[in-house]
Symmetry: C2
Subunit: 239 residues, 2 copies
């Protein structure tokens, strides 16, 4: 919305099943097999798998199975980390499923030190973004990575950038935080420019929100995390 303000967005939050991070790979793939046709039928021309866990596990299996170009966060995140590091010692915090998939180490030239952070998503969704509990948990999660003398840290789950300030306090100024989503958006802008289909500045983008769980709860939590009001979300059932 910030970087591509004139594009139309179709946003699906699978709130009934979040978090994905402790689910089995087969289940994560099956969930994505339900989501992708929904987005395509709603008119999505380009799909960002804007979930680190889906990107790590479902993307490699599904990327060529649909008639729409699908974009994963991993390649962009790996590239951003490679560009940011000087020492080649890169930290990764992500869900257990993403860490176990090995997707980031496979995509990155350099050493990757990983830590699963299973409590982060529930803490963020629960509103504990700037709390002492979260700070304590974060210190525990980050300790082994800091021991490895990393100079770059990938926020490998799309929830984690909401903790960027708190994480920055803990890791200090010598560690560069990488948000794969920032790089993905730049990639998409380049693609749209190259294709000549980047929307002109005079057409404002629309955003439609779909959820699988409670629309009210999504509107509340979503507006807080997004930092601007979400007027409406439509509840849908995925088949």
């Amino acid at each position: 919305m910030e970087k591509l303000p004139h594009e139309d967005l179709i946003y699906l939050a699978d709130t009934a099943r979040v978090p994905y991070g402790n689910r089995a790979p087969e289940e994560i793939i099956e969930i994505n097999r339900e989501i992708l046709p929904f987005l395509i039928k709603e008119g999505a021309k380009l799909i960002v798998m804007a979930c680190g866990t889906s990107s790590a596990i479902a993307y490699p299996v599904l990327k060529d199975e649909y008639p729409v170009h699908i974009i994963s966060l991993i390649e962009a995140g790996a590239r951003a980390a490679e560009n940011a590091t000087r020492s080649g010692r890169i930290g990764l915090i992500a869900t257990a499923a993403t860490v176990n998939s090995g997707a980031y180490p496979q995509a990155i030239k350099g050493q990757v030190f990983s830590a699963a952070c299973p409590l982060f998503v529930p803490l963020i969704e629960g509103g504990f973004v700037d709390s002492d509990e979260t700070r304590k948990v974060a210190k525990e999660y980050l300790k082994p990575l800091l021991k490895e003398d990393i100079d770059t840290l990938i926020l490998g789950c799309t929830h984690y950038p909401h903790l960027a300030n708190l994480i920055k306090e803990i890791v200090g100024n010598n560690v560069t935080l990488v948000d794969p989503a920032e790089e993905v958006v730049l990639d998409i802008k380049k693609m749209l420019k190259k294709a000549g289909t980047l929307k002109a500045a005079n057409t404002p983008g629309k955003c439609e929100y779909f959820v699988t769980g409670s629309p009210l709860q999504f509107v509340e939590v979503g507006s807080r995390l997004l930092g601007r009001p979400i007027p409406h979300a439509k509840q849908i059932a995925l088949a």
Copy 2:
């Protein structure tokens, strides 16, 4: 048109620059960088790089650079050949550029024996589909492959299926001919079904033809090769 009769097609024939098969890889990539934005701006939702040479050389470079899913002939052709062969000895006839790219041997489990057939495209375009000259040339091209005891032969240039009968006469019934385009169309049908966007049987598909060279010549040669009349082709300039 046969297998997906209800889908709309946008067909671009770069007749001003055909054949691609003896051009340098850089040039083939540049040409595709002109073609892809044209098709996307015309509304293409899914793009088949329906040229063996472009698939072998431009696809690996460009596949992730555009906001539309692009499909190459190589993966599908390789898979079809792997499924067809019993001995694992696969022949490939294609343009010089495709043979030199090594795209098929890289994609195929099994031994690939390749022959460049630079005269086939001009012979086909010139109307010599069932002529003694073409039969003579084909025998020369195929001789070294037959010596290698292949049991499968990939028609690695999208023009070559027009010579299928003549080639079949030469290689005999023990060699299975593989047309990658057939497999690609099956893949696309699967994708559209999976996404739920395969067109219903009551909507007839439209086909728009664009050419970079003479529309009259295209309409004449194209109708003959397609086996049904092409009513109209629009000449365009690629930038």
